[in-house]
């Protein structure tokens, strides 16, 4: 029987048992097939890469399995590799956000992209193997025993001997003799299985092995080759594009720091590009443009916020009726969810929403108008490409709310507009274009050129205005009188409190179509209600 067929048979026999052992992870049946390995592995005495995981699909390398012949039973090699691969999915890193977090923590210590990746990979592998050993019934220790080892691998194996209580064939005298006993002692004190302490633990891990990795890197530079990881390389191929989206979203939300996000995206730019992250296309994915980390940051951060949008009655030639299905996104409205095709679940990837189309007939329907966002990017505002700007985040959240309702958004970004400090984007549903204009920063003085605004508003009966500024506008009075004459629903958001904002608030308080919100911290953003009309019967308003 051909070797590959035999491996397949073993795999089919082993897989149900492994699935049960790992509590039935949602992983497809592993495959036997070619995996990417370094050129050196094929020619040299190295075993090469044993497994590869791409978007949850585990592939075992038949060449690796053949190379292990005589050292360990084929079935045990397959089981050990699969235990390792499955535990990556079920325990560590678990998700892309954890992977990014571990990498970022490691980089804080080693200050080098490649070293940080290596530290994170070794730490993740160690956690996964320790987790499997702790659970029992794994052949991973046996695999470690027979694998060829370099200096660092020997130290790690010695550490495993100590923390697992299993003999991996490294005599203690060898490590003591090489002077790395203290490294092993330090590494053995790390609580690998305590997920809540992983950020601190990886820093300690990195501190302890940094000098070893640096000297190994030097050695490799001279020799011109590196060892491949028999238990598989860790790259973004592990994750599906949805997981990458979610990971970036979580990372942006957790750190809330533009510089950290930019650094991470920069470090993973190659991998992100491979995963389809340019700037064109939906959700920041697609090819053609380099990744703009700043735009991606606001995009991912804004996806974490959902601000309500009041619909208006719009006269249509026909009424809307459900036409086709489209996948539901987190923070998209629930009312269009089709519970039948969603199996009663609210879960991205499963839940479906009805996409409505205009049908025949006459009548008035509730719909969302287009929106013009006017954003202040003068010197008194925060530069969104240097620090987290609540103005851009707020405007981005507003843009998302309109785009989710299939409306179009125009942007008027201004500083000293009469002097040319402005950028105008006509109404579009292209998210990336909108974000690019929102993230523009002019600096300098603040003045609106109302001649720019008029053509954007003129002729559009149903149009919402969204203005976000600190209100320190030179021609504030002109803006007030302009807004007072405009019948459109207007949401004015001012960043922080100041006398100009108070002046604006007082001047427009009688205009029922203008609503004012203050954003002082990120928690204020979800409190904005777009297109809210003041209730005339509200007694508190009448008193005023």
């Amino acid at each position: 029987m051909e070797e590959k067929e035999r491996f397949k048979e073993i795999l089919e026999e082993v897989w149900p048992r492994l699935k049960k052992k790992h509590l039935f992870p949602e992983l497809p049946m592993p495959k036997i097939g070619k995996v990417k390995e370094s050129l050196d592995a094929e020619a040299e005495e190295e075993e090469g890469v044993g497994l590869e995981m791409k978007e949850k699909q585990i592939t075992l390398n038949p060449a690796f399995l053949s190379r292990m012949k005589g050292k360990m039973a084929e079935e045990k090699v397959i089981e050990a590799l699969l235990d390792h691969g499955i535990a990556h999915y079920t325990f560590c890193p678990w998700d892309f956000h954890t992977h990014l977090m571990l990498y970022a923590e490691a980089k804080k210590v080693v200050n080098d992209k490649e070293l940080a990746k290596e530290v994170a990979n070794r730490f993740i592998d160690l956690i996964v193997d320790t987790h499997c050993v702790k659970k029992g019934f794994t052949e991973i220790p046996q695999l470690h025993k027979v694998l060829k080892k370099g200096k660092i691998e020997e130290i790690i194996a010695s550490l495993c001997q100590r923390i697992w209580g299993v003999d991996l064939g490294i005599p203690p005298s060898r490590i003591a003799g090489s002077g790395y006993e203290d490294v092993v002692r330090r590494l053995a004190r790390i609580p690998y299985l305590d997920r809540s302490r992983w950020p601190v633990s990886i820093q300690k891990f990195a501190r302890t092995i940094k000098h070893l990795l640096v000297s190994e890197e030097e050695r490799q530079k001279h020799k011109g080759k590196g060892r491949s990881n028999p238990q598989g390389e860790h790259d973004l191929n592990h994750y599906s594009s949805e997981e990458i989206d979610q990971g970036l979203r979580d990372y942006a939300q957790k750190t809330m720091a533009l510089s950290e996000f930019r650094e991470i995206v920069g470090d993973f730019s190659e991998e992100l590009k491979e995963a389809g992250y340019g700037i064109e296309g939906g959700m920041g994915r697609g090819s053609g443009h380099p990744i703009d980390a700043d735009i991606l940051f606001y995009m991912k951060l804004a996806e974490n916020y959902s601000i309500p949008l009041k619909k208006v009655t719009i006269e249509k030639r026909g009424s809307l009726h459900p036409h086709s299905h489209c996948p539901w996104e987190v923070s998209a409205p629930y009312q269009d969810v089709d519970i039948w095709t969603s199996f009663g679940k609210i879960m991205p990837g499963i839940t479906q929403t009805w996409k409505k189309r205009e049908g025949e007939g006459r009548g008035k329907v509730e719909a969302t108008p287009d929106c013009l966002i006017a954003i202040d990017s003068s010197g008194s505002m925060i530069n969104p490409r240097k620090n987290l700007s609540y103005a851009v985040l707020g405007a981005a959240c507003a843009a998302n709310a309109y785009l989710r309702n299939h409306s179009k958004v125009g942007v008027y970004n201004f500083s000293d507009a009469p002097m040319g400090g402005k950028d105008i984007l006509d109404y579009t549903d292209r998210k990336e274009d909108i974000y690019r204009i929102l993230c523009k920063y002019f600096g300098g003085g603040t003045a609106l050129d109302l001649d720019d605004l008029t053509p954007l508003i003129k002729g559009k009966k149903n149009l919402d205005l969204f203005i976000i500024t600190d209100m320190k506008i030179t021609n504030l009075e002109a803006l007030i009188s302009f807004l007072a004459q405009t019948p459109n629903r207007t949401t004015a958001v001012h960043i922080g409190e100041n006398p100009y904002a108070a002046r604006f608030e007082k001047a427009v308080q009688k205009n029922k179509n203008i609503n004012i919100f203050t954003v002082k911290k990120k928690e204020d953003i979800p409190h904005i209600v777009l297109g809210k009309i003041k209730d005339y019967f509200n007694p508190t308003l009448q008193k005023r």
Binding site: I163, G165, D182, R186, R189, R207
Partner: protein, 243 residues
């Protein structure tokens, strides 16, 4: 009418297997290592907190001979009762920066406490890898006794190795001002640069500096070398005017 046979109609219970299932928690040596090191760390932390409580009575912690001696005596009392290793001392140094666990780091008492930990450690040679520490610890190496060798991989703060009592202190990075002040005997090696008032009132011993010495203090007795060249006793007459 006969009742249907219940056994023939029943479907297999999917949870049948769990009747015989027994959960056995597997222990690995890592569990024990982590647990015991955490217990030791708690003891060390408790000792430090008690020292801080004592020292908090003084509203302002001044680096004066009496203050340091008094703090050291309190630190000694707690440290003697703990069974710890070099790795515990190193972990404590990083725990000092972790504000979640230890509410405040007062550089003076922290350095005195760490010195007491080093001086009472079982090991004769102590290597502390502190190059990633964001804070430079003051007063480290205080009263390091004869027979002990303390190696700091990283920089140290002010008052490094003061009152050295015959031990050998190696700083792989830079040391700040007042290094070796009041030392009686022993050796201090600083691989890089050293600050002002070096060896102030030192009564004996040697200070070797691999980089530059910014300024010497009023030295009573002892030797100071800068890049293998003896600079005290030597031509330098005025403290802090060496460069």
């Amino acid at each position: 009418m006969n009742a249907p046979n219940r056994n023939s109609m029943s479907i297999p219970n999917p949870f049948e297997e769990f009747k015989t299932f027994s959960f056995k928690k597997k222990e690995i040596p890592l569990d024990h290592i982590v647990q015991s090191s955490e217990e030791v760390m708690d003891q060390i932390r408790l000792g430090y907190e008690k020292l801080l409580e004592e020292e908090a009575k003084e509203l302002v912690w001044m680096v004066q001979y009496n203050t340091i001696i008094k703090a050291y005596e309190v630190a000694e009392k707690y440290v003697k009762e703990i069974d710890y290793s070099v790795e515990d001392i190193e972990d404590f140094c990083f725990a000092l920066e972790n504000t979640q666990k230890i509410p405040y780091l007062i550089p003076g008492p922290a350095g005195v406490y760490l010195s007491a930990l080093c001086n009472y450690a079982k090991e004769e040679e102590i290597l502390l890898r502190l190059s990633e520490l964001k804070t430079e610890i003051n007063l480290i190496g205080f009263r390091l006794p004869k027979g002990k060798r303390l190696v700091i991989d990283g920089d140290t703060g002010d008052f490094t190795g003061i009152g050295l009592e015959g031990g050998e202190l190696v700083v792989e990075g830079n040391a700040k001002n007042w290094t070796g002040a009041g030392m009686r005997s022993g050796k201090i090696l600083v691989k890089k640069n050293i600050g002002l008032h070096t060896g102030e009132w030192m009564m004996g011993g040697e200070i070797y500096v691999g980089g530059r010495v910014r300024g010497l203090g009023n030295i009573v007795e002892g030797k100071v070398y800068e890049r293998d060249k003896m600079i005290y006793p030597g031509k330098v007459r005025y403290p802090n005017l060496y460069y």
